[in-house]
Symmetry: C2
Subunit: 140 residues, 2 copies
């Protein structure tokens, strides 16, 4: 019951890119260094974030990564589910919950469903625009 | 980011025992059957729940398991942490959070700390007395 390393690095990568001045691209090397992330693993995560249209990648020697849409339209939920697939706090929390043999008789599933809803709602309302860095004021 | 099988079976075992009429013991076989849990794995979980004083075990041919304290004093948090150790939604959520290299510069950790507090609080307030079964009324 812990955020996976993959989802944590994905959030840290998007956080890093969000903080760049507008128009600037982030290289894998920069993100790996500043977020202390293993480069090969990070490369796969960035590819996946590009595939789900959270990031946009530019090829070439001056290439790198940018957000694919405004930061306020990228939530923690988007990033986590973008690399991990649908979140489910317990096996009974998703629509196809028939996988648990005691589903019908288990009164605890109502608790888990409430937790799931609250958690997904928090993740969905935490958007990356909260992490945009205010530009440093130029000295007079 | 999902409840482990171990913690799920632990909750289901305690849920099963909570629903028994007062004074009745549950055998591993009964719990395994009714909760569709693998018997060997369940046996280890029950031992651990006994070690952390959530269950009490009685040896012998008529032995089995009972709650070690009143159901209202056993929360979901007790059961999950009893078999899994301290819950941490992300690596930065616990006191010894120095394990993350970017801890000091990461603004996202405040979000995770709030999530952690809310989640632990929900798990701590969900106590097993909510799952005591009302006795079936004797027919006149």
């Amino acid at each position: 019951m812990k955020l996976t390393k993959k989802a944590d690095y994905a959030l840290r990568a998007v956080f890093h890119i969000t903080q760049l001045p507008e128009g600037e691209l982030a290289s894998i090397g920069q993100i790996a260094k500043e977020q202390s992330a293993p480069r090969e693993f990070l490369a796969k995560i960035l590819k996946q974030l590009t595939r789900v249209k959270i990031l946009r990648s530019y090829q070439g020697i001056h290439g790198g990564y940018q957000l694919a849409r405004p930061a306020k339209e990228i939530s923690f939920l988007d990033v986590i589910e973008g690399v991990e697939g649908p979140i489910s706090l317990n096996q009974c929390c998703r629509e196809n919950a028939g996988c648990c043999n005691v589903y019908d008789d288990c009164k605890m599933r109502h608790f888990w469903k409430r937790q799931q809803n609250a958690y997904l709602s928090s993740l969905a309302s935490e958007t990356m625009d909260r992490y945009i860095q205010a530009p440093v004021a130029a000295s007079a």
